[in-house]
Amino acid sequence: MLTAEEINEIEAEAGHYPKREAVCIDALKIVQRHRGWVSDESLRDIAGHLGMSPTDLDSVATFYNLIFRKPVGRHVIMVCDSVSCWIMGCDRMREHLHKRLGIELGETTSDNRFTLLPIVCLGCCDHAPAMMVDGDLHGDLNPQKIDTELEKYK
C-alpha cells in the first residue's frame, strides 16, 4: 500500500505531464525516498496506482541506476570512477573503502550502515577524486579525509 503522503507527492508531480505514466520515474523516486528502496510490492503498488503493468514499470525501474531494486544501507556511498577521478587515484580510494568497510561494490555492511556503489562522473573533476554520500558531494579525497567524512554518517 502506498501511503497518503506518497500518493500526494506523486499526484503533485503528475500534474507536470500530459500523460499519467510519465510520472512513473518520479513515483519510483518518491517511494524510494520514503522506504530506502523499491521492493516488488512497492513496484506493484506504484504500477497499480498509475494504471501500468508491473512489468512495464520494472523495465523502467531497472534501467535507471539511481532506482534501487534491492535494499540498501542507511547511507549510500557512490564512488566516482570516471576518467578524471581515475587519473587522480579513485582506485586507491575504492580499495580504502573496501578495506575500511569490509564490503565490495554493490554490497552493504552487516550493520546496515553503508552501501557502496560506483557512479559515473559527478562533475567534480577539478577536485578529483570524488564521492557522494547520500546527497552530499565530497571532493579532494584521500584515505584520511574519507575516514573523517564517513564518521558523520551514523
Binding site: 507536470h16 510520472v23 523516486k29 541506476n65 578524471s84 559515473v120 577539478d126
Partner: protein, 429 residues
C-alpha cells in the same frame, strides 16, 4: 542592463560559493531581457533572428547553431499545441563540470535564458532536466523557480504580457544516455531512455509528439546577454570566427585544476599553461582530451590551436564541452582508454548492436592488455570494432563518441599499446 563585460556568464557569481537570489539577480540587471521581449520590444521571430545572428552554437558538445534549431519550430495559431522547451542539465560527460557551476551559483540566469528561449519558440511548457546527483543545483533551482513564480516571471499572463509559461524541474534517475537529445525525451515521458530514430527531429516531433527544443545549460545562459547587448557584441566576444565566451575547464595532474570563462577561441596552451598553471612538478604533459571523454586526443604539436568549434576539427578533434582532461607521463594511456571505454560500455542503453556488443568486447580487450594478457592482433581487433561505432551504424552519438578517444589513443600512443602486449604487463604498474 548587463554591462558589456568579457565574462557575461560568471561576472556576478560570488566567490564564497553562495548563489544569487532573485533580488540579487535583478540588481545585476537580471530579468531585463525577458522584460524587454515581453513588453513588445521583440517578436519571437526577432529573438530567434538575433540569436542566429549572434552565431550562438550549442555548448553541450555538438555545436549545432542554436538560432537555426529554434527556427525549425512551427509558430503561430496553426502550430501543434503545446510546444516544449527543455534545458538539458544532465551533465554527465566524464571530465565535464561546467553546467553545475552555472546552476549552483546563478540559477536565475538559467531560468531567464529558458524563458527567453521559450518565448522565441512560443513554448507553453518548459522543463529543466537535471541529473539526480546534482543535489545542490536541484535545491537552488527549486528555490529560484519558486521565487520567479512569486514575482510573476512564470505562470499565466507573465507581467501582463499575455504570454504564459510553466517551468518544471525534473530530477532524473541516472544514466548517461539521458543526456542524448531524444533519450532525454523518452526519459521525460517516463520510459527507458533509448534514443529515437531521426527524422522526425524534435523541433517538429519531440516530447509527447509535440515540437520541442532541447538546449544545454550554458547555451541557454548566453541567451539573456545576447538579447540585452545584441548579436554584434556577442560575436565580438570570441577571438576567432566563433562567437561568445566559453566555460573552459581543466582536470588531471595540472597545478591548478579549475574552470574559467574566457573568450571563445582561447588557445589550448593558454588555458593549460596560464590558467591551469601547467603540469604539476614531477610529471610531463603527454596529451589531452579537449572537451570530455567523447573527444579525440590531441598532443603537444596541437597546443596552439584555438579551442573553438571551427579550429579543433582541423587538428582531428572537437571542442566538445570545452573541459579538458590531461594525460601526464605518470599515467598509463592504455589504462586511461580502458577507463573511458568501460564507462561507455556500462552506459550503453543496449539498443544498437555495435554499441552494446562492441563496446563490451573492446573493454575486455583493453582490460586484458592492462592485466598483461594482451595478444598480438588485439590492436587490429580494437581498430575493427571502433570502425563500426560510426554514425549511421548506431542511433545516437554514444558509440561514435567512444571511438574518438580509442582511435586517437591508438594513433598517438601506439608504442604504449604495443609495449603492453610485448612485455605482458602494464609498464605503469
Amino acid at each position: 542592463m548587463t554591462s558589456t563585460t568579457e565574462k557575461p556568464l560568471t561576472q556576478n557569481m560570488r566567490l564564497d560559493g553562495s548563489f544569487l537570489d532573485l533580488p540579487a539577480y535583478e540588481q545585476t540587471g537580471g530579468y531585463h531581457a525577458i522584460r524587454k521581449v515581453l513588453s513588445g520590444g521583440m517578436t519571437p521571430k526577432a529573438v530567434t533572428a538575433e540569436v542566429k545572428s549572434a552565431n550562438l552554437r550549442g555548448r553541450g558538445g555538438a555545436g549545432f547553431p542554436t538560432g537555426l534549431k529554434w527556427s525549425f519550430v512551427p509558430l503561430g495559431k496553426d502550430a501543434p499545441d503545446p510546444t516544449y522547451l527543455i534545458v538539458n542539465a544532465d551533465e554527465m560527460e566524464p571530465g565535464t563540470f561546467k553546467d553545475r557551476l552555472l546552476m549552483e551559483r546563478d540559477p536565475h540566469q538559467v531560468i531567464e535564458g529558458a524563458m527567453v528561449a521559450a518565448f522565441a519558440i512560443e513554448a507553453d511548457i518548459a522543463y529543466i532536466f537535471l541529473r539526480g546527483e546534482y543535489t545542490l543545483a536541484a535545491e537552488r533551482l527549486s528555490r529560484a523557480i519558486a521565487e520567479a513564480y512569486q514575482r510573476h516571471y512564470l505562470g499565466k499572463n507573465i507581467l501582463g504580457s499575455g504570454y504564459s509559461l510553466e517551468l518544471y524541474l525534473h530530477l532524473s534517475a541516472g544514466r548517461y544516455i539521458c543526456g542524448d537529445e531524444t533519450g532525454l525525451l523518452n526519459a521525460l515521458e517516463g520510459k527507458r531512455a533509448n534514443p529515437r530514430a531521426k527524422p522526425p527531429f524534435p523541433p517538429v516531433v519531440g516530447l509527447f509528439g509535440k515540437p520541442t527544443i532541447v538546449d544545454n545549460v550554458e547555451t541557454i545562459a548566453c541567451v539573456p546577454h545576447i538579447i540585452n547587448n545584441g548579436a554584434t557584441w556577442f560575436r565580438g566576444l570570441g577571438r576567432t570566427q566563433d562567437a561568445g565566451t566559453k566555460l573552459y575547464g581543466v582536470s588531471g595532474k595540472v597545478k591548478r585544476p579549475g574552470l574559467w570563462e574566457l573568450p571563445m577561441g582561447t588557445t589550448v596552451r593558454e588555458i593549460l599553461e596560464e590558467h591551469a598553471g601547467g603540469m604539476r612538478d614531477g610529471v610531463k604533459f603527454r596529451g589531452l582530451l579537449p572537451g570530455g571523454s567523447s573527444t579525440p586526443f590531441i598532443v603537444e604539436q596541437h597546443l596552439d590551436t584555438p579551442m573553438d568549434f571551427t579550429e579543433m576539427p582541423k587538428v582531428g578533434s572537437r571542442l566538445g564541452t570545452g573541459t579538458m582532461i590531461v594525460l601526464d607521463d605518470g599515467t598509463c594511456p592504455v589504462g586511461m582508454t580502458w577507463n573511458m571505454i568501460r564507462f561507455f560500455a556500462r552506459e550503453s542503453c543496449g539498443f544498437c548492436t555495435p554499441c552494446w556488443s562492441g563496446l563490451g568486447w573492446a573493454e575486455r580487450i583493453l582490460k586484458s592488455m592492462e592485466d598483461g594478457r594482451g595478444k598480438p592482433g588485439d590492436l587490429d581487433k580494437l581498430a575493427s570494432q571502433a570502425s563500426m561505432w560510426s554514425p549511421g551504424n548506431t542511433f545516437c552519438a554514444l558509440a561514435p563518441g567512444a571511438a574518438d578517444p580509442l582511435q586517437s589513443a591508438m594513433k598517438y600512443f601506439r608504442d604504449d599499446f604495443e609495449r603492453h602486449i610485448s612485455e605482458h604487463r602494464c609498464p605503469w604498474r
